[in-house]
């Protein structure tokens, strides 16, 4: 089934193998499939603490290397993004909030802002804290002093004279 338009576009129908096979009878009903998927995710949770600690070490080392070697920025940024994404998926809200701050700081450095060692270190320390109880189970609004304080640090770093002049 092909037709030509005035702009010479070829438009054709595709029923892929995925579509044909996925529509077969005998699949797992939606509600049951979702419940089973959640069970798999729960089973992965105990491994998350180990993964998180390993990733935190990698990220901290990469962030610290930036001071002497700007080429480490991409690796540090990628590690921060991974922490942010996985934290959200596993319900570690504070890990996500703080690693998101760090992502913003690294983006600013990529854009030309200076590297503030203290700003980075306080975020790394906070991230280590969020990997442990009781902080790993808390939401951002349950520790407003910490989250607002870190936010102010990020905003100050992003609006410092040396940043805004660039």
């Amino acid at each position: 089934m092909t037709k030509k338009t005035a702009a010479a576009a070829r438009i054709f129908f595709v029923d892929t193998r995925f579509q044909r096979m996925a529509r077969r009878p005998g699949g797992v009903p939606r509600e049951k499939a979702i419940a089973r998927a959640q069970v798999y995710i729960e089973e992965l949770k105990p491994e998350f603490a180990d993964w998180l600690n390993k990733k935190l070490q990698e990220m901290a080392a990469a962030v610290r290397r930036i001071e002497g070697d700007a080429s480490q920025l991409d690796e540090a940024y990628e590690s921060c993004c991974q922490l942010r994404d996985a934290g959200a998926a596993m319900g570690f809200e504070l890990t996500t909030v703080i690693s998101n701050n760090l992502c913003e700081l690294l983006e600013a450095i990529k854009a030309g802002s200076p590297y503030h060692k203290e700003t980075m270190e306080c975020h790394i320390d906070a991230l280590h804290l969020t990997s442990k109880a009781p902080y790993c189970n808390l939401r951002a609004d349950q520790v407003p002093e910490m989250t607002r304080g870190l936010r102010r640090v990020v905003e100050r770093a992003n609006t410092s004279p040396s940043t805004s002049s660039k």
Partner: protein, 197 residues
């Protein structure tokens, strides 16, 4: 048959994500949905290797897949003539749900975008949408991929959109559906109708 049920048994599904933990989560979700033929890769080259040696039925790919990114990979897959995976459904996973990113994904030729972190419901419903809502393919000088002119009226039996989720959007209109004269005459008729009442 329940139209809202998808059968993933025997389908080859490729998960391309540099984040090992999120790959495992996605893998777990798909297992829960009944998938039993899953492949995982962490970078662009891994995708190329899998696609070379294996027919893949659907790919879930992260936008930040190193080193080139998932959108570049999608463009390559869609625009390579003679590539048997050219029409393979591609679901793009992203933490960046800004409109500009969604538009870039649409123009690269992805079937659908899903915001990270994904919930099992969101993933199931998007796969069901792709399965039960086939779209034409469009081949032009500048684009090869699913027809970008579509609207999601709701996922099959699904939860609808989350605030951060954006499906691939309808393409921009190239002009008004009505000519300006027609619009003016409609407004004119409406105004004269008001005057009469």
């Amino acid at each position: 048959m329940n139209n809202h049920t998808i059968n993933l048994g025997g389908l080859a599904i490729l998960i391309a994500d540099s984040n090992s933990y999120l790959r495992r989560i996605t893998h777990g979700m798909l297992r829960g949905f009944g998938a039993n033929k899953l492949f995982e890769v962490e970078h662009y080259l891994g995708v190329v290797q899998v696609l070379t040696g294996q027919k893949i039925d659907v790919m879930l790919c992260d936008t930040r897949l190193p080193p080139e990114g998932g959108l570049s990979l999608t463009r390559t897959i869609r625009r390579t003539l003679g590539n048997e995976n050219r029409t393979m459904p591609i679901l793009m996973m992203t933490t960046d749900s800004r409109e500009a990113t969604i538009k870039m994904a649409r123009d690269a030729g992805v079937n659908m975008v899903i915001a990270k972190p994904m919930s099992p419901k969101a993933l199931y419903d998007r796969l069901a949408w792709i399965a039960f809502t086939p779209r034409n393919f469009v081949d032009t000088e500048t684009y090869f991929g699913p027809d970008r002119r579509f609207k999601i009226e709701g996922y099959p039996g699904g939860v609808g959109r989350r605030r951060g989720d954006q499906a691939v959007q309808v393409a921009e209109e190239v002009g008004p559906a009505l000519a300006q004269d027609d619009i003016d005459s409609l407004f004119g008729a409406a105004r004269s109708g008001q005057g009469q009442s």
